[in-house]
């Protein structure tokens, strides 16, 4: 059994210790916003924050999450209360197929937490672990720069995002 904090809520799971966090979040806790893309930490579609740091969760065994705090895209913001990055992503039409965007936004949010005013090359370095097969990179970069410029970034504190939606279990 592993206990951890998911979007501000204390949770526990009996998934086997080697189960990657991604699948625990997606299939046990039914938060489907984080995606499976490669399974080897190469594409970043599964990016979540672990104690505030962007992590590839498709290769992170759940046992390593014991006692830690996990934030997913659902914990970052909701359609009704979007994070500044999500709002700009929406306004600027960043996503195409959209499948990588949760991971992109989680990486961008972690970057802005530690570096509120990144240069273009700092953005490249922070974001190059996230593949966008549709090639939305110019828009992703512009959106991050605009959010930084507008100083809209909310301080991401887990206490403030305790309303992470747990949709009713469809099963």
């Amino acid at each position: 059994m592993t206990k951890f904090n998911l979007n501000g809520r204390a949770v526990e799971t009996i998934d086997s210790d080697d189960t990657p966090l991604l699948w625990v979040v997606r299939d046990t806790f039914k938060l489907k916003g984080s995606k499976f893309g490669c399974g080897i930490g190469q594409c970043g579609a599964c990016t979540m924050h672990l104690d505030g740091i962007a992590k590839r969760t498709c290769i992170l065994p759940i046992i390593a999450v014991e006692g830690k705090s996990v934030t997913t895209i659902e914990g970052l913001g909701t359609p009704e209360n979007m994070h500044a990055l999500q709002a700009v992503w929406t306004e600027q039409g960043v996503p195409q197929c959209g499948y990588c965007q949760s991971g992109q936004i989680m990486s961008a949010a972690a970057l802005l937490e530690t570096n509120p005013d990144p240069s273009k090359s700092e953005i490249d370095q922070a974001m190059k672990g996230n593949i966008c097969r549709c090639g939305c990179y110019p828009r992703i970069k512009k959106a991050i720069l605009d959010v930084a410029a507008n100083r809209k970034v909310k301080k991401l504190q887990l206490s403030e995002v305790a309303t992470g939606p747990f949709p009713e279990d469809v099963s």
């Binding site: 998934d15 086997s16 080697d18 189960t19 990657p20 699948w23 299939d27 039914k30 489907k32 916003g33 984080s34 995606k35 499976f36 893309g37 490669c38 399974g39 080897i40 190469q42 594409c43 579609a45 997913t72 895209i73 909701t78 359609p79 979007m82 990055l85 999500q86 992503w89 929406t90 306004e91 600027q92 039409g93 960043v94 996503p95 195409q96 197929c97 959209g98 499948y99 990588c100 965007q101 936004i105 090359s121 490249d124 370095q125 974001m127 190059k128 996230n130 593949i131 966008c132 097969r133 549709c134 090639g135 939305c136 990179y137 110019p138 828009r139 992703i140 970069k141 469809v170 099963s171």
Partner: protein, 729 residues
Amino acid sequence: MKGWNLTRRGFLKASGIVGGGLVIGYMVTRDGPPLPVADIEGALTPNAFLQLTPDNMVRFYFPRDEMGQGAMMGLTTLIAEELDYPLNEIEVLFAGAHSAYNNPDFNLQGTGGSTSMKVHFLPLRQVAANMRALILDAAASDLNVSRSSLTTHDAQVIAGDQAFPYAQFIETASAAELPESATLKPKTEFKYIGKEIARIDGQAKSTGTAEYGIDIEVPNMHYAMVKRCAVAGGTIKSFDAVPILATVGVTDVVAIDSGVAVVATSFWQAKKAVAALTVEWNLPELANISSQQIKSDYQQALQDEKGDSYSEGDITQGFTAASKIVEREYWAPYLAHAPLEPLNAVVRIENGEADLWSGTQFPGVAQGLVARYAGLPKEKVRVNSTFLGGGFGRRGALTHITEATQTAMATNKAIKLIWSREEDIQNGFYRPASLMKIKAGIDERGKISAWQATRVGGNLTPSVLGVVLPGVLPRVPSGITNLITGAANSVFDGWSIDAVSIEGLIDDYDFANKEIKHITVDHGLPLTFWRSVGHSYTAFAKETLIDELAEFAEADPVEFRKQHTQDNPRLQQVIEMAGQAMQQWQNELGRYVGFAAHGSFSSYVAEAAQISIENGGIKVHKIVCAVDCGQVVNPDVVRGQMEGAIMFGLTAALYGNIELENGAVKESNFHNYPILRMDAAPTVQVVIVDSDEAPTGVGEPGLPPIAPAVANAVYAATGKRLYAMPFRL
């Protein structure tokens, strides 16, 4: 939540999986099979696409698929415009499978070939305009005023200083005759078409609430993964299910057509178990083939010069008139599509009915495949489409739907099948490899007098037929569908040329004397459409040779292209526009520029690339792209598709390579099949021709020119011509 509503909750509701009950019903129509639209009491449903509910909501049954290309935004814009209904408040639902939703270009319910706006621009506007006219007719009757005294504004009928919601007139409208040819709005009155409006799917995709096939869950669902032969076409000799069945969570191990399916109660259990499974295979002929062999077989075929040809003008005369003749060969490898969402499908079969949840480019074919392998009539199969996490052609080849259905049948369970990334790269369908040769002559005036092109490789059409036919003809035995596919193979090997194999190789320019030849050599790796199809390799050959010819003619590459597009004014115009934009670039030390242009999917694109050579590699800095895609419905979607196609094409130009070793694909995941990343992505400036021509393709035409533009820039930088993709200095 009011407004656009394809969030998780909205989708679940529409697809009938909330609370286990079926919300969606089947509307009974007077003729033909019932339409898969919601049976809502008191709603007005004048056609397969639109539904006005008593609370004045409009539901749009979106007939195409949304894989990133923006068709959902584009087609919803058409509805909002002619129905005079707020764009952001239309509830968009993925249409179920029904011939009413066929793509007129395919006569199938399919999305591809950059056709969505081209085929729907007028018909969907007409559908919406007719519905608005019907509401106005009913309002005139109900209010007892003249029809001409009424107008509409944002979902309301306006009568003098009074406004009435559309829904107020549903009852009268339901009994009235539907107008068939209501007048469409003139361009000057457009509120939405041609305007800068953010995509309606942006918010769901930025908040993790957009739903993809991989996100679907149904009660008592089990997870399946399939062990397939490393060599395409291999069949099972033997396998030992016993140790795998003893693994925690595993419930079934069953043989299906494509391999051995392992079923478990979680994805992780299925993934571990399938990795531990050993299968002995009967290997096909392809197992003796490696990439080197394929290249040398193609080379041999090129020398043997057998094949089918087609010509215009007098090629012999053309070469006689030439003062200089050049002959070059070009190589393009097999490529995987690698959409970021791995293939998946959820299939549930119970009580003589089946449900499929998946994002595919051919929902109608998918319905047929489920019907075929579940032994049900097509009408008993509901297709619940989702967003596609990338398509690029890959989600048109639907063997994963067959796998999920066969596994569900064999285990009597609701199945969610997921492919791993490794399976996606190694067990898929590929962009065909091509060897091309072009021999061209220029005369003393610097005009191209002869253009003779040959392509060697496999043909797409028979391969695609092989995967599509079993779904199109679910009741026809596989022996017959195999026979038809085999016949197609023969037709393109000695009788005729498969147009998509050579598209773009002899077009675009004023070639008075030209000849195209095709030589079919196919080693059996499964092939399918890959973003921009034949153009993805023909533009590279054509446009790098044009650059060489310009040099021989001592002409500027942009001017040379303009001189040779007298008969192709729309291509000439984008060449001019991109050329002018390129002139704005400052000369920067160590930066070099290359140019290319190509017409595809009835659109015209020219691109210039600025590069430098850094640490022995190619660094692409800037791109300018000029596009003529006819009348533009959403400029930002057009720009996005040009940007995306450029990145997709750069991945192929710089990295893309699928190699075979003993018939098996060597690459396996993103570490050895790399995709362009942000630090390698150039900036892109897109200029769009202001046009009143009919809308044409947008999703694919931005791709073909990028590889040759970069290759030509590399020549400017290094003096070395590139003749093979991916580029190696």
